[in-house]
């Protein structure tokens, strides 16, 4: 019985490998429209990026990207289904077609972009590895950390970045590695280490976990580049463009001052030609993307512009209180920049 099953499996596998190829252009959009929702891969729990509230609803920046894509395609941001994925599962889930978009705090790197059958559509959050220290240490810069004991969350890039940084600056350190963020936070609190290192977005979450968050401070230095963004399957440019421009629409909206509150008004009487083009009043820019005319209006109305999404999930309106920093718009001191709709 077992043998028969195994043989069967091998035969099926061979047959499947024979017929399945890379995604066809346009295939994803058609499939998504047919099934009536966007299947979106998110994290299984990361403060501010993807988590569930008391009612069981998904929240976070990564989650809102998915809502934006649904709003653009269907005019209804709620037409999303979420697949919570672990870090190891995420690429397979995208490659195998289980999900349409991977929006799971994934760092955009060359090997992932070119070597894994997927392609990144943009950057939702410019992250980077940083340090959290007790104010009592009197340290104001990471350069003063010579000889420190450092708590690290296990994860190769974090450890590698740390060792690179200390070696480059000719400093010594003692690493203590932990598996979970809870352990490392507790360890910092108990004084087993002087400084805790992780991605900056997570350091703010770690800080809240401490009994006296105000006694700890995130140092200004960022020692690695971690641009996080949504990815789609390689080979379907049409779907790629839709995800990319859903993100750009939110950025453009913020730049042009269009918010979820004033978007209806703006759509009636656009204040500038740029706004008119973005909101589909002038021209047929939605058509190029194979989207409805009011695609951007729906995104902004139902999800919000980038600034609103940021503040709501990780910024001033959330418990994390992360400052915009690199994630401010290009004309406000940051590097978030979107090509124009034209």
């Amino acid at each position: 019985m077992k043998m028969v099953k195994t043989t069967l499996a091998i035969v099926t596998t061979a047959a499947v490998l024979g017929v399945s190829g890379f995604a066809q252009a346009g295939a994803t959009l058609d499939a998504v429209k047919k099934k009536g929702f966007v299947q979106c891969g998110v994290s299984d729990g990361l403060p501010g990026f993807s988590f569930t509230d008391a009612k069981g609803a998904y929240k976070g920046i990564d989650v809102d990207v998915c809502h934006a894509v649904a709003a653009a395609v269907f005019g209804d941001a709620s037409k999303v289904k979420f697949s919570p994925l672990t870090a190891k599962e995420r690429f397979t889930a995208l490659q195998s077609g289980e999900i349409d978009v991977l929006s799971r705090n994934t760092t955009w790197t060359s090997s992932r972009d070119a070597g894994m059958g997927l392609v990144f559509a943009g950057v939702t959050y410019y992250d980077g590895q940083g340090f959290l220290v007790n104010k009592k240490l009197g340290v104001n810069s990471a350069k003063e950390l010579d000889g420190a004991t450092v708590c690290i969350q296990a994860g190769t890039t974090t450890e590698l970045n740390l060792s690179d940084y200390f070696r480059t600056n000719g400093m010594k350190y003692t690493p203590i590695t932990y598996d979970t963020s809870d352990e490392s936070a507790k360890s910092l609190e108990a004084g087993r280490c002087d400084v805790l290192t992780s991605d900056q977005s997570q350091l703010y979450a770690q800080r809240i976990k401490l009994a006296q968050p105000d006694e700890y401070v995130v140092l200004p230095e960022v020692i690695s580049k971690e641009p996080l963004g949504p990815a789609v399957r390689r080979g379907d440019e049409e779907w790629f463009s839709i995800v990319k421009w859903s993100l750009f629409a939110m950025l453009n909206a913020e730049e042009l001052g269009v918010t979820s509150k004033n978007v209806d008004e703006m759509a009636k009487t656009p204040k500038s030609p740029d706004i008119g083009r973005l909101l589909g009043i002038d021209g047929e820019y939605g058509k190029d993307l194979k989207l409805p005319k009011d695609w951007a209006v729906q995104i902004i109305k139902q999800v919000g512009n980038y600034g609103e999404v940021f503040e709501r999930n990780v910024g001033a309106e959330s418990n994390l209180k992360i400052k915009r920093g690199l994630n401010a718009l290009w004309n406000q001191g940051g590097i978030q920049y979107a090509p124009p709709v034209r």
């Binding site: 099926t12 596998t13 399945s20 990361l46 988590f51 008391a54 919570p84």
Partner: protein, 366 residues
């Protein structure tokens, strides 16, 4: 010589130092210098550990409120567990449909109750009918269809998911394991080789690898768009994996049955299946109840490994709830609650197995 009747004096009570609380203390805790020392050290350790835990968990804990701002006391903040209790129990199962989960659980208890009454006569027939009917009803109630709103398995979660995986795992692994054990002791070479290979293969890989394989490798081999249900994949893997363990436990029991039993069965003219079903297995299974229950308890706890494939079982639901920025820093409370619930379930299983052993004891002990 006068005949005097000797009246015994009533026996004196034993020295007060040898009976009652003091006697017990003297014999058990302070019988020698070494024991006295150990007792004192143990008392000191208890004094060191228990009061702070008690303080944290009860005296200084927060019980009332609805948000993190209500966590004002020094100790635990059970408000978190209270607020997320529904999610811990049912995952994303729609709140208005949770009665279906409750009903499934109630049906299981009510349905199985007659089997625990010794006076109920048709146990075998009733048991088999229950085994056939209940899974169908349970699946219908949990999943839906035929008039009930469909709740996809991606919405299942919490303790309910843990129990579903464990229950299906136990119900599937036991029969499959017994068959594998029979096959391994079979005299037919083909069957024997297949069973030995299966058992050794599945026992040779860690469950976490198997789950990982089911979730990461399998989808690559399936055609695009076709995706087997994630929960189904995990459950099938758990069943096969645990069956291999059960098979070895059962085989151990069968080897303990004296050869005379086989010969006696053969002399009675019983064929293979009747020998096994009427003579060998009833004795063998009774012998290995502790081993089987041990495997089941391990299985129940192993279900938490589905965390690696992003299924939201009880433990993962708690982990995810701690990622909510509104409740950061509540992981200790969450995990203590998880440990308590796991303990209750596992202890119930082991107590039941102890009861079963006593009831079925026909004097194999020497």
């Amino acid at each position: 010589m006068s005949n005097t009747t000797h009246t015994f004096k009533p026996s004196l009570p034993p020295p007060t130092l040898n009976v009652g609380v003091i006697g017990w203390l003297r014999t058990n805790l302070f019988s020698s210098v070494g024991n006295t020392l150990l007792t004192l050290v143990a008392l000191y350790l208890i004094w060191l550990v228990v009061p702070p835990i008690f303080n944290w968990a009860f005296l200084q804990a927060d019980w009332a409120g609805a948000t993190r701002a209500d966590c004002t006391a020094e100790g635990a903040c059970w408000v978190f567990v209270k607020e997320r209790f529904g999610q811990f129990m049912y995952g994303f199962y729609p709140a208005e449909l949770r009665w279906r989960v409750d009903l499934t659980a109630v049906l299981a208890v009510v349905g199985a109750a007659p089997l625990f009454f010794d006076r109920f006569k048709h146990k075998a027939r009733y048991g088999i009918a229950l085994l056939v009917a209940y899974p169908v009803i349970a699946f219908w109630l949990l999943y839906g269809g035929f008039g009930l709103q469909v709740v996809p398995s991606s919405a299942w979660g919490g303790l309910m998911l843990t129990i579903v995986i464990a229950a299906v795992g136990i119900a599937g692994a036991l029969p499959l394991g017994i068959l594998l054990a029979l096959g391994r002791r079979s005299s037919l070479p083909a069957i024997k080789v297949i069973c030995v290979t299966t058992i050794e293969f599945w026992r040779g890989v860690p469950l976490i690898t198997v789950l990982f394989l089911s979730s990461v490798m399998l989808p690559l081999f399936l055609p695009e768009g076709l995706s087997l249900d994630k929960l189904l994949r995990a459950v099938v893997m758990v069943v096969i994996f645990e069956a291999a363990y059960i098979a070895e436990v059962v085989r151990g029991g069968m080897q303990a049955i004296p050869k005379g039993q086989y010969e006696a069965a053969a002399a009675m003219g019983l064929g293979y299946w009747r020998t096994m079903g009427l003579v060998i297995l009833p004795q063998a299974l009774k012998l290995v109840i502790p081993g089987i229950v041990n495997t089941f308890i391990a299985l129940f706890k192993d279900t938490s490994l589905v965390i690696i494939i992003g299924l939201f079982d009880f433990l993962n639901s708690i982990k995810r709830a701690t990622a909510d920025p509104a409740w950061l820093g509540m992981s200790t409370e969450g995990y203590v609650f998880a440990a308590l619930v796991y303990w209750v379930f596992c202890f119930a299983m082991s107590s039941y197995s102890a009861h079963l052993e006593r009831k079925l004891n026909t004097g194999h002990t020497r």
